[in-house]
Amino acid sequence: MATEVDDFLREGALMPYGSERVRLHAEAVRVADLHQDLEAGFKARQQLIQSANLGGDPNLALVAFAWCLGQHDADPKRFPANGGGYFTNLLWMYKWVVERAIEHPAISRAKVDELLADMARRYTAGGFSLRPVRKLELQSAVTAQEAERIPAAMAEWLRLRRDSLSDCMACDVDMTSAAHLATHDLKLAREAAKPIFELRMTCAEVPTVTYGRFLLPLSRSGDDEEAQRLAHLLPRKIGINRDYVTPAGALVVYLVERRSRPALPTAQRHATWALVGETPLRRVTLMIGLAKASRLARDMGRGEDSLGILLPNEPATSFAEAEERMTQEAMKVAAAFDARNGHDRFSSTVSKHLAGDGEWWWPL
């Protein structure tokens, strides 16, 4: 049995991040559970959390993390928090979980605050800096479009010391640039992101997420050359990894607005990512992109062309059928966030994007 679990883990580790890697690690968990081997189940779930988080299935990562943390608290010696590497460290993975909780409108702000408080308690107990906690608080302000909170949150984050649980420099620079974009300061955002654009800083997700975030603001500001360069680089960077659903959405919007030849094929390639997989926040840009692509297809007389299968077990949907659906789904996500946050900024922004008036400071 232990061999079979390890075989699935090893085979999964050979795959690039994406749905196949997640599937193989989920199989490892299933085999471990089948044999009631809790230690093997703990080890397999740690790998699954990483694969699912970086492979576009954050719900699965969260489910596995909840199991691991519960086991750890029940028996810390048997299920230690530190697995010997960053990505098998529960405290490290807690960052991912809270990040996704912030991006999920069904999880209340009060619950997010509870998670942050629990995370802070564990970090303090372990002697670690609270820098990651403060970074997530900044992230919360950015995703909620609450620009008034951003400067203080950023200052509070940056003043804290870095340690082994802090994100890498590339991720921190990416967050800094995102925060400047959220306050509509493209100049400062570009300045902050310079090491990333010069490829002096990279990591698992950077520069892909950075390119995706800057594509539309740069295009809107008139920097067509740089926007075109990013649009050229993004398809290869995105590949088949659902984790990059937001850059994929930005790319679809960009290509559609330019009526570029790859616009409709790009929409078709990523259509299955719009309604399942990543968090609603990450998917809403693609929903907007697909609504716009559908409108373009209709204008080109290609409304009956197939956009693709939007949900498993559904037949393929045409562009014409998808336009209204994607518009409604995007507004539904926006309404859910507004209900959680107590204001209407999301609905207002998404409406503008769907109408073509948005400035694309958000979603990021």
Partner: protein, 602 residues
């Protein structure tokens, strides 16, 4: 603020040691690059001399005397040479390049190449005479930032000789074997002959055409020779070679197809030359990501190197070159599929996994390869084309356990069932309808309900109270009973499990151990799941099931629970805590009650 008196403008002072530290720790990945830099300077000097003397052939000589701390390594060329002014400007001024206004003719551009010598040596001696000059210059540079410059009494040959003695950290590199290996590694494809000599003798290399120049792969001996070359440089067996050419990058080369499978995550190690000087023997990013199965050797004259000249700068020309290589490989695969099916089958047999990954994301590749790709199913492991040509309805399931459960049922129904439990298979099978016009449907609940036969009316009547009990009992497990008749009769019940249902089970397992803090969070994300209820499909042809149609009171309830758990175990699904308890309690109760079940006499 009051500003005090301002000084005259002063020059930045440069700490040579600091610069060398930057080079060795941040620019160059290895201290051995001094060999490349000195070869580069020699090639550039000869190139410069050929501009004024087109007939000049040029030679580079490397000599090693001694080894370790007592060694001297000499790099000598008969290129253009330097005069006193050149030495002051280009050698003693950091950042100044001698390559003037025609950088594309030269390998070096950054004017810091000679400094790489200070990574391994505290003293660099250079003796040079410029073509057309009658004076020879001797320059000695020191790692403390000082240098001496003087005119020699003796007349040196036209060209330049660089003499190095190692500092302690450089000693391991200063021996004949290492210097020769490095010179060959960096310079074996240079167009200028290099002669290496030490106390034992001398040998020459380089100065030849590129190994793939004039290659005609239709000629068997050419092909054998080039495959042998590929196998030597990459230390792996190769099955085919594809010529590469790019006008824009002014590049030629070969893409070798590996004869053994390679995992997607292992980085590429292509070999790249820039104007015939080695850039890297483990370069990644030269081919599209999907081309796991090739190793390339290329020489480019028109790609831009990074500052350390150990990679190519990621610009639009490199991107275009990468796309051209991808297009070349695709054309070869397309032609091979049409013209050499045996070679294609061999290729697929080795590399089907990356091809499946590729086909899953690229419609064109899917259309090209889908029929060749192997799948497991009721015909065994066969190319999809064989399944498509069988003429029978095709279905797939998404995991091995569902396949094991249903393969027998599928055969009895005359259906070809494919096991989509392997990497990418489910995704590929689901795409068949859209991309090659042949629908391969998932074997889902809908199939089970529609294709499996309904029970005979009299059986349905007999089973009415059984079904009422089953509905009630299974509701507590969020499952629903269905009655059908199917082969094989030995299977009492099948459990339908979609990905959504499996996810729901995963969620419930986590809830059983999760902290209260996470219970609400799990509830919140559970709303993302479509509401799916697993079906427990009872088989009226099974003796045990038929026995349960009789009125057995509480024992029937226990038996239904056990059949549910049995179906879970047959589907290799982990049991939750409550299901384990059920198994234990139900088994114990049946044992206590002494159940006897005889098949009905019919």
């Amino acid at each position: 603020m009051v500003v005090a008196a301002v000084s005259d403008r002063e020059l930045f002072k440069v700490d040579l040691r600091g610069i060398v530290d930057v080079l060795s720790n941040h620019l160059y990945s290895t201290p051995t690059v001094f060999v490349r830099e000195l070869l580069q300077n020699a090639v550039d000097a000869i190139t410069a001399r050929r501009i004024v003397e087109p007939a000049h052939r040029g030679e580079i000589a490397i000599r090693v005397v001694g080894s370790g701390g007592g060694a001297t390594v000499t790099f000598e060329d008969d290129g253009i040479g330097l005069d006193e002014n050149d030495v002051r400007v280009f050698l003693s001024t950091i950042g100044q390049s001698s390559k003037g206004d025609a950088p594309t003719d030269f390998l070096g551009q950054f004017g810091i190449g000679i400094l790489s010598c200070f990574v391994v040596s505290d003293e660099v001696t250079l003796v040079t005479r410029k073509a057309g000059a009658d004076r020879s210059i001797r320059w000695v540079g020191h790692s403390d930032g000082t240098y001496e410059l003087g005119v020699m009494k003796a007349t040196a040959p036209v060209g330049t000789a660089v003499y190095l003695r190692p500092k302690p950290e450089g000693e391991p590199l200063f021996n004949a074997e290492t210097i020769l290996d490095l010179a060959r590694k960096y310079g074996e494809l240079l167009p200028i002959e290099i002669t290496f000599s030490d106390e034992r003798g001398s040998e020459s290399f380089a100065g030849e055409p590129l190994p793939w120049d004039g290659m005609n792969l239709a000629n068997a001996s050419h092909l054998a020779r080039i495959l042998e070359y590929g196998e030597t440089i990459f230390a792996q067996p190769m099955m085919a070679a594809i010529p590469i050419r790019s006008e824009d990058a002014d590049a030629t080369g070969v893409a070798f197809l590996l004869a053994e499978p390679k995992a997607a995550h292992v980085p590429d190690d292509h070999r790249a030359y820039l104007r015939r000087m080695l850039v890297s023997s483990n370069l990644s990013g030269l081919t599209p990501d999907w081309a796991y199965f090739v190793r390339c050797v290329v020489n480019a004259n028109n790609l831009r190197p990074t500052a350390g000249r150990e990679a190519f700068y990621e610009d639009s020309r490199l991107e275009s070159f990468r796309e051209e290589i991808g297009a070349t490989i695709r054309r070869w695969l397309d032609a091979t599929a049409r013209e050499d099916p045996d070679l294609m089958a061999q290729f697929i047999g080795i590399h089907y996994m990356p091809l499946k990954a590729l086909a899953s994301q690229d419609a064109e590749f899917y259309e090209m390869f889908a029929r060749w790709l192997p799948f497991e199913g009721t015909r065994g492991r066969s190319p999809l084309g064989d399944y498509l040509e069988s003429g029978r309805p095709l279905h797939y399931v998404s995991d091995h356990d569902a396949y094991r459960q249903l393969a027998g049922v599928a055969r009895s129904l005359g259906i070809e069932l494919l096991d989509g439990g392997y990497s990418y298979d489910s995704q590929l099978l689901s795409m068949a309808g859209q991309l090659i016009g042949r629908e391969i449907k998932p074997l889902d609940d809908d199939f089970l309900l529609k294709r499996l036969a309904d029970p005979a009316p009299e059986d349905a009547d007999h089973a009415a109270t059984f079904m009422a009990d089953a509905t009630r009992v299974l509701a507590s497990f969020r499952a629903r009973p269905v009655l059908k008749e199917f082969e094989p009769a030995a299977v009492p019940a099948l459990l339908s499990l979609s990905a959504e249902i499996a996810y729901g089970r995963h969620m419930r397992a986590s809830r059983e151990v999760a902290l209260p803090l996470f219970a609400d969070v799990l509830d919140a994300v559970a709303t993302d799941l479509p509401d799916s209820v697993p079906l427990l499909v009872f088989n009226t042809r099974n003796a045990l099931v038929r026995a349960l149609f009789r009125d057995l009171g509480k024992k029937r309830e226990l038996a239904i629970k056990l059949l549910y758990v049995h179906a879970l175990m047959l589907a290799h699904q982990p049991l939750s805590v409550s299901e384990l308890e059920l198994l234990q309690d139900a088994t114990l109760e049946l044992l206590m009650q002494g159940v006897t079940v005889r098949p009905p006499a019919d």
